[in-house]
């Protein structure tokens, strides 16, 4: 089994970003949510509502 450390994978990602002039964390398209199951939508909605109830910004972007 290939063992991949967090640090080694981060090095790979940073190497690719550096070579391609990529910055930030929005270089991967976010899931559209078109095919989400009802239970997945409910789970994500619950998480968003917890953030809203506590006055925090959402910690992820998702269509549900």
């Amino acid at each position: 089994m290939n063992r991949i450390t967090i640090e080694r994978q981060a090095e790979t990602i940073e190497r690719w970003k550096s070579r391609n002039g990529v910055t930030g964390r929005d270089y991967v398209p976010v899931n559209s949510g078109v095919s989400r199951t009802p239970s997945k939508r409910a789970l994500l909605r619950s998480l968003a509502e917890i953030s809203a109830d506590e006055g925090d910004p959402p910690r992820f972007y998702a269509n549900f």
């Binding site: 991949i4 967090i6 964390r25 619950s46 917890i50």
Partner: protein
């Protein structure tokens, strides 16, 4: 510690690793992290990922292990009761299948996110690329982002110094997941387009 990954993601990985260890100790195969969270690990990009999708035949045991680690069941009117959430981390966990990619992935290729004395199994990056292309192929208009994710996974995989991409396996898996509609050449062409640099 790297700042490539967000704090909640790394903390959730450690909680999952503990829970997976408990499931394994009970005699089950160690669960596998799939879906958007696996893409997030491989790319460092914030793909969604409010939830972690898991493959395991031991859903009950895994949920019990997670409930002992601060996860809870969502509540509220009309709430469907699949999945658990962690209120502090704002991350959910859902068991999506009992079998990895319907048995079409070679399980010997499953990798391990190495967290020291423990770890989280994750599909080979070739299987993740093929999975994303399969979803794109099933509904191109509805899932353009899946092609984008496949391209990013491929590009980053090509930057790996260890575990080089197995092109033959990737090609075979893409053809299977897309029912022959797409092949490796299509992915390479898209990865080399200026928009994806």
């Amino acid at each position: 510690m790297t700042n490539t990954y967000r704090h909640e993601f790394l903390t959730a990985l450690r909680l999952l690793a503990e829970a997976f260890g408990e499931v394994e100790a009970a005699g089950w195969k160690r669960p596998i992290l799939v879906g958007g969270a696996a893409v997030e690990f491989y790319t460092g990009g914030e793909v969604v990922s409010g939830d972690f999708d898991v493959v395991t035949a031991a859903q009950h045991d895994l949920e019990q292990a997670l409930l002992r680690r601060g996860f809870e069941r969502p509540s509220g009117p009309g709430m469907l009761m699949r999945g658990l959430l962690h209120r502090e981390l704002r991350i959910g966990v859902e068991v999506v299948s009992g079998t990895l990619f319907d048995g079409n992935a070679e399980e010997t290729r499953v990798g391990l996110i190495d967290l020291g004395s423990t770890g989280v199994p994750i599909p080979a990056i070739e299987d993740m690329i093929a999975d994303r292309l399969g979803q794109y192929s099933s509904n191109e208009a509805g899932h353009p982002e899946m092609l984008g994710q496949a391209v990013r996974l491929y590009q980053i995989a090509m930057s790996r110094l260890e575990f080089p991409l197995d092109r033959e396996y990737l090609s075979r898996r893409i053809e299977h997941e897309t029912s022959g509609h797409y092949g490796l050449e299509f992915l390479i062409e898209r990865a080399n387009e200026p928009d994806h640099d």
